[in-house]
């Protein structure tokens, strides 16, 4: 057996410390050790985007980072966005446009959409679609998601 690593990660403003094996990936840590189950595992190989989270401000795949790599990092998940009052307009737009059905992709979808909106990109639909190309949704067909992101940008009031 490998040795355990004691890691402390700030998740949604909470300091979470645990001793874990190196092979535990960040998203498993967040869900199992920290109990934030809002982010989901969809494929565990970085393709589906359901586990997309913010690590030190950058949108990354939670399944393609080890928890030990995030020792000392600041992580924000969908729960944190809500708790900190971020992406309020984006959530409202998702609700208004019905940009989610089963909701399993939504936590990652919101993080990717937020990255796009906060980078100041345009509401051009093709550009939005290109940016969201790394997040899989089986339910909606994507149109309502694009509608929601475009609506937030066009409102000019930020995410």
């Amino acid at each position: 057996m490998s040795r355990l690593h004691r890691v402390t990660i700030e998740i949604n403003g909470e300091q979470v410390t645990a001793s874990i094996a190196a092979r535990v990936n960040l998203i498993d840590f967040i869900r199992t050790e920290a109990g934030f189950t809002g982010s989901h595992l969809g494929c565990e190989h970085g393709v589906c985007g359901a586990c997309t989270i913010e690590v030190d401000g950058a949108a990354v795949r939670g399944c393609l980072m080890l928890a030990v790599q995030a020792d000392g990092a600041n992580v924000v998940t969908v729960e944190g966005l809500a708790g900190m009052g971020r992406a309020k307009n984006l959530r409202a737009a998702f609700l208004a446009e019905n940009a989610l059905q089963c909701g399993y992709c939504t936590p990652g979808m919101l993080v990717s959409a937020l990255e796009y909106i906060e980078s100041g990109e345009s509401s051009d639909r093709a550009t939005i679609r290109a940016h969201m190309a790394g997040n899989y949704c089986r339910c909606t067909g994507y149109q309502a998601i694009v509608d929601a992101i475009a609506a937030v940008i066009e409102s000019g009031e930020g995410a």
Binding site: M1, A21, R23, V24, R31, T32, G35, F36, T37, G38, S39, H40, L41, G42, C43, E44, H45, V47, C48, A50, T77, V78, E79, L81, A82, R91, F94, L95, A96, N98, L100, Q101, C102, G103, Y104, C105, T106, P107, L110, R125, A126, I128, R129, A130, M132, A133, G134, N135, Y136, C137, R138, C139, T140, G141, Y142, Q143, A144, I145, V146
Partner: protein
């Protein structure tokens, strides 16, 4: 059927309004509750060793080393579940002649597909369970396999179940009129093609997941699962684990996509329940993505030789085809794997007047993962056969594809009637939806633009489909054949002391908005603001008994049950109110949570309920207030309630790369009364995009020896945002007369219709190059081959 018509137009009616989903708020803040979010104390995590071979004798499985690996509690082999789990067989009596073999959750003597469980490890963590699964010494002796459905019936093909004699599972023939005579006429144009539909699968983003917990003190099994039909699962677990049904509780909270994948009996899930019972500890199984691709049911995979005879005036003289489908080594339990072929035979050509129709279908066993019902069962195949042949033949006689449909589609005023295959049809609007589609898409303008593009070397095409969708199935779908699958659904409402309405239903929510439409119906029919309605679904301990959500039945059947129950509760409440207010029931109504009469609000529901619950002494002693109502509903008189729609695709084919870009897509859907138009539109859009997946991207690619080559999300291509078009959806509403609500289903039309429209559009684009393609998915390689470029 008639009913309280005021439910559709009174001030607090919600039916017909695009109310936003209260569930969505929760999900947007990360407050969903999916199976893997549940962490119970002492949980064991399951991992399965799965057969690496398509067909193998299980000589010996030595788990000695695995049993002693860190974290491992126990290893189970197939034989360990003999006597624990009663084997299951996927046959139904109304599919006469369908055969299959008994199946166990973990293979016992033989493994029959790559991915079939051969051993199960339970350990403290999933990682440790996987470590131990690698340590199992499984002596599997590969034996000749029958993978290719097209050769599985050959004399020399290995027989997968020797006791059945051959690999033929089922065969069905439909013959109406004189097809031979129609094709032998010398005044008809005949178009004949071989269609191939790739194997694909549901790729729910949440994988199949289950937690089983057995409480020996009560003899009670609780099974949380990601599924669509809790009561069906309750029956199956009880029957096959030897429990009484009431001691099995099945709970489906949030479900991360289902699409028909999650209505079947999977060995790994049954084993999870059985092992939880043996171990007396909770056991969790969450399929990883490899396991999803290798064991979630697959669908389609049909080869169809088909031909159409068309008169010079465009009328269809005859249609015939031969459909062959490989279903894997077993017919899936309990719905069987014969339904898709059955649907193909039932639905092909159903929108059209078809005097002569002959179809043969065969389903065969093969050593690949099992096939069963996935969204739009049989529809994409049936629609492609008829509508792609129709456009092919129309091109052959030089007729426009819209005109040929106008001439052959059933008249909107000609119902009720039956289709060629004997399906009872009513309340359809093919002609009107087609006209609405043409008006919406500016058809003539597109044709001009298409010609201009062609002059510049750009190959664009326009393709159509006119379709039917099977929704609201009656007991004639499954129950008649002996399946433990309810066709009726129940709804309950309870007026609480605070004046809120607590409702429950046996239909289930997987993101369609089921809970929302139930709340809309309850709030509107009963008379409270929708914010005062809380909805509970998905728990066999508390929900009324019923079928769940599949086959586009939730709104039409479960919604009607809710309407009936809400109406009943309203009558009951008004009876109490009339007594309290010294007036008559007919003088009263309930609006926005208040009992009203001609003079306005009289008493709030809360006051009424508190009187009933706390101060019954104030009520006449002969009044027995009942503030709970339950009603059930099933479809009678029709096996199914059909919907119809018309769709069109506008595509551009890059003839150098073979890539197809969808420029536009339009759909006009008639699903009867739309309870929530936005939710209907989103069902249609999402469905169309899955249909686009089947047409252009998705395929389980197997090697000749039955190895799945693309069991990752990187290699199995699902539609992603960048390539998908914006989709225009319009409604035509022809309510069904089988219910007061008038709602039909809408969940599968898009998936069922889009592939044919896209195939027609691609072939329209290729026609000037004298090329055509009849195989889905229409990959770049296949298109380039069709073009003779490679």
């Amino acid at each position: 059927m008639t009913g309280p018509a005021t439910i559709f137009d009174k001030p607090n009616a919600y039916i017909g309004k695009s109310v936003s989903r209260s569930d969505a708020r929760r999900l947007l803040e990360g407050r969903g509750r999916f199976v893997d979010d549940i962490q119970l104390p002492r949980t064991l995590h399951a991992a399965f060793l799965r057969s690496p071979y398509a067909h193998a004798e299980i000589v010996h499985i030595d788990s000695t080393e695995a049993e002693t690996a860190p974290g491992v509690v126990r290893v189970f082999k197939g034989e360990d579940l003999i006597g624990v789990v009663e084997p299951y067989v996927g046959i139904l009596t109304h599919l006469a002649g369908l055969r299959s073999a008994p199946q166990m959750p973990i293979a016992v003597d033989r493994a029959r597909w790559q991915g079939e469980p051969v051993a199960m490890v339970v350990a403290s963590t999933r990682g440790e369970a996987e470590d131990a699964a690698e340590l199992i010494a499984a002596d599997l002796d590969p034996i000749p396999e029958a993978c290719d459905a097209e050769t599985a019936l050959d004399e020399d093909a290995p027989v997968i179940h020797p006791e059945l004699g051959t690999n033929l599972a089922w065969e069905r023939l439909v013959e109406v009129g004189d097809t031979d005579a129609a094709f032998s006429r010398d005044d008809v144009h005949v178009a004949e093609r071989t269609f191939r539909f790739g194997r694909h699968t549901g790729v729910t983003l949440e994988p199949r997941s289950a937690i089983a917990e057995f409480n020996p003190a009560e003899g009670k099994l609780t099974f949380w699962y990601s599924g669509q039909a809790p009561h069906m699962m309750q029956f199956i677990l009880a029957k096959h684990l030897g429990l009484v049904e009431e001691n099995v509780r099945v709970v489906a909270h949030d479900v991360g996509g289902s699409f028909g994948i999650k209505i079947h009996t999977y060995g790994d899930e049954i084993a999870t329940a059985a092992v939880a019972r043996i171990m007396g500890r909770p056991v969790k199984f969450v399929a990883d993505r490899f396991e999803s691709f290798l064991s979630d049911i697959h669908a389609r995979d049909h080869v169809v030789n088909a031909r159409i005879a068309m008169e010079r005036n465009g009328l269809i003289a005859g249609l015939e085809f031969d459909d062959l489908s490989g279903i894997g080594p077993y017919s899936m339990y309990p719905r069987t794997s014969a339904i898709e072929m059955n649907q193909v035979l039932n639905l092909t050509g159903a929108p059209y007047v078809l005097p002569n129709y002959r179809a043969r279908g065969r389903v065969v066993f093969q050593n690949k993962n099992m096939m069963c019902q996935y969204r739009a069962v049989g529809h994409p195949i049936a629609m492609a056969i008829a509508d792609c042949l129709l456009e092919d033949a129309a091109a052959g006689i030089g007729m426009d594809p819209v005109e040929v449909r106008r001439r052959n589609l059933m008249a909107d005023d000609g119902y009720p009637r039956t289709s060629a295959a004997g399906m009872k049809l009513d309340d359809l609007s093919h002609q009107r939806t087609l006209q609405e589609l043409i008006d919406t898409m500016d058809y003539s303008g597109l044709r001009i633009a298409q010609a201009e593009a062609l002059a510049n070397g750009i190959h664009r095409g326009i393709g159509f489909v006119s379709m039917v969708e099977v929704t609201n199935p009656s007991p004639m779908f499954y129950g008649v054949g002996g399946a433990p699958i309810a066709s009726q659904d129940g709804a309950s409402l309870r007026l609480d002391a605070g004046g809120g309405l607590r409702i429950s239903s046996s239909i289930t929510e997987q993101g369609q908005g089921t809970n929302t439409i139930l709340a809309q119906i309850a709030a509107g029919v009963f008379g409270v603001p929708i914010e005062r309605v809380t909805v509970a679904t998905g728990d066999t301990d508390t929900a009324p008994y019923g079928g769940g959500t599949w086959a586009s039945r939730g709104a039409g059947i479960g919604g009607e049950a809710m309407l009936l129950a809400a109406h009943a509760l309203k009558e009951q409440v008004l009876e109490v109110a009339a007594s309290m207010l010294q007036t008559t029931v007919s003088a009263l109504d309930i609006r926005e949570g208040m009992i009203v009469d001609g003079g306005g609000a009289r008493i709030s529901l809360s006051d009424l309920a508190r009187t009933v619950y706390y101060r019954g002494n104030e009520l006449p002693s002969d009044l027995n207030p009942e503030l709970v109502a339950t009603r059930h509903f099933r479809v009678t008189g029709f096996p199914f309630v059909f919907t119809n729609g018309a769709m069109a695709a506008h595509v551009e084919v890059d003839t150098e790369t073979g890539l197809v870009r969808i420029l536009n897509f339009w759909a006009v859907e008639d699903c009867g009364r739309a309870i929530n138009p936005r939710l209907v539109e989103e069902q249609v859009r999402g469905g169309i995009v899955q249909g686009i997946g089947g047409a252009l991207y998705e395929e389980c690619i197997y090697s000749g020896d039955g190895q799945l080559q693309n069991a990752t999300m990187e290699d199995y291509l699902v539609p992603m945002a960048a390539e998908m078009p914006d989709i225009v959806v319009k409604h035509v509403e022809t309510p069904t007369k089988t219910s007061i609500l008038g709602a039909k289903g809408a969940g599968e039309a898009g998936t069922g219709g889009a592939p044919a429209a896209i195939m027609n559009a691609v072939n329209d684009a290729l026609r000037p190059l004298d090329a055509s393609i009849w195989r889905m998915p229409m990959t770049p390689e296949r298109i380039l081959k069709a073009l003779g470029r490679i």
